[in-house]
Amino acid sequence: MDIMEASLLDKLNSPAMYGIVALAIVLVAAMCVYFMVKSWRAGIQIGMDKNVLRKAIVSSATFTLLPAFSVLLGVVALSGSMGIPLPWLRLSVIGNLQYEVNVAEIAAKGVGLSGLKITEMTPEAFVTIALVMTAGILGGALLCLLTLKAYSKKLSGKPKAAGSGRKTFGDWAMVAMFVGMCAAYIGSYIGQAVAHNVMLPLLTALVAASAMAVCEFLERKKRMHWLENFDLAASMLIAMAASVLLGRVM
């Protein structure tokens, strides 16, 4: 790394840059706290059991821990070419681990670099890329701002099958969306295994599925309902550990 690169990275990692990012993150965290308090109070107001509300918080926190750690690795991955503060912001709020590197690369090419390379980066290119990355992923938030109220009203106006206890198509559509999402990802791992002979993602997914099958068995047949809080994180952890072993064997 020559002096110019080191100097730009020093600037990108300067305390002032951390300060700007920290302010933005604190603002979004304040929004989360506000909505959390509001919905907790609303739950109490309509007579929901505090234990149910508490369980939702605990399960969501445990559910998030492992994926959040993987998001942190995204920060590490981008920190070499963009410094730490910007990736920290992008992946703490609004960004997405799966798409972020792609967006940065597309943005870098769009501003005239051959790719996301610190060797070609200038302060002007950096702030332009940062603006492209921010504006390029605002579609969902802008739609919420402009149309969510009307869309929600339209959805709530649709008749529901009440009282029968029978699942509506809305319930099945949600299950179907998730089945489709998982099928798309697992299909891509099958494709990698067959077309490119890259077996590890598919094997990792299979180990995770097997671990989850054991958890489901314990929860349903052995009535170990407490396991519901941890089954996903535990299955992922087992599969990730297995991928280290499988990676060495292969």
């Binding site: 989360c32 919905s39 998030t64 597309i106 769009g110 919420c144």
Partner: protein
């Protein structure tokens, strides 16, 4: 019951309408403030670095990114809002990591609370879940960034690389088993189709976001046919 009171059906509907109204008002205010600040960040960074964004290059880069991500955002919005409700939607689209984290997290919490889509309970549980998930992500990342320098040798240890490279397969393997059991009558169709598409057109392997939308829409269509034929009765 705790401190709350049991509301009649009509009282609950009226309360829910007022709650949603305030959620939209406050959600919009927070969204404007957060988006405004997020868009200001590159310019504030520019002040520190002594350079401002080049607007011509910005437009070129923005068009390239928006062509891919704005249609995806529209589809995500149409699909995820009915699952999440108003409060969680405002939060999710600002805090990001939707399909890989916020949506599974909210659905998991909703299932545990046994709340039905479109009910006040679902609205409350989803908002609590997404807010918690966002805060945990913020805290983990903040701690991680603080520890980044001493942690870097551990994180970049080649021994752990396969584990971190395979977080997403681990997530979708475990989640897949759960949901394939729930939708066992139709799950094989999208799975076989998705596998076949990726084998026959290997370029789709890298286009998971496109594949996800196509297979997701198709699965909803298949489940609709099964539902109409009464094949999904328990």
């Amino acid at each position: 019951m705790d401190n709350g009171k049991i509301l009649s059906g009509q009282e609950k509907q009226s309360w829910f309408a007022r709650y949603n109204e305030s959620m939209h008002r406050e959600g919009r205010i927070w969204t404007v403030v957060c988006l405004g600040f997020l868009l200001a960040v590159p310019f504030l960074m520019g002040l520190v670095l002594g350079a401002m964004p080049d607007m011509n290059r910005f437009l070129r880069g923005f068009i390239n990114v928006a062509i891919i991500y704005y249609p995806t955002s529209l589809v995500e919005y149409l699909i995820y809002v009915p699952m999440l409700g108003a409060g969680a939607s405002y939060l999710s689209f600002i805090t990001g990591n939707l399909s890989n984290l916020k949506i599974p997290c909210a659905i998991n919490a909703r299932e545990m609370a046994d709340a039905r889509v479109g009910t006040p309970e679902n609205e409350i549980i989803s908002t609590l879940s997404v807010a918690t998930s966002s805060l945990v992500t913020v805290v983990v990342l903040a701690l991680g960034v603080l520890l980044l320098v001493p942690l870097q040798p551990v994180l970049s240890n080649p021994v752990l690389t396969p584990a971190f490279d395979n977080v997403v397969p681990a997530l979708f393997g475990a989640l897949g088993l759960k949901y394939f059991l729930k939708g066992k009558k139709f799950a094989a169709i999208p799975l076989v189709l998705s596998g076949a598409v990726c084998i026959l057109m290997p370029s789709m392997i890298r286009q998971t976001s496109v594949l996800l939308i196509i297979i997701g829409a198709l699965t909803i269509g298949v489940s609709f046919i099964f539902y109409k034929k009464g094949a999904l009765e328990e």
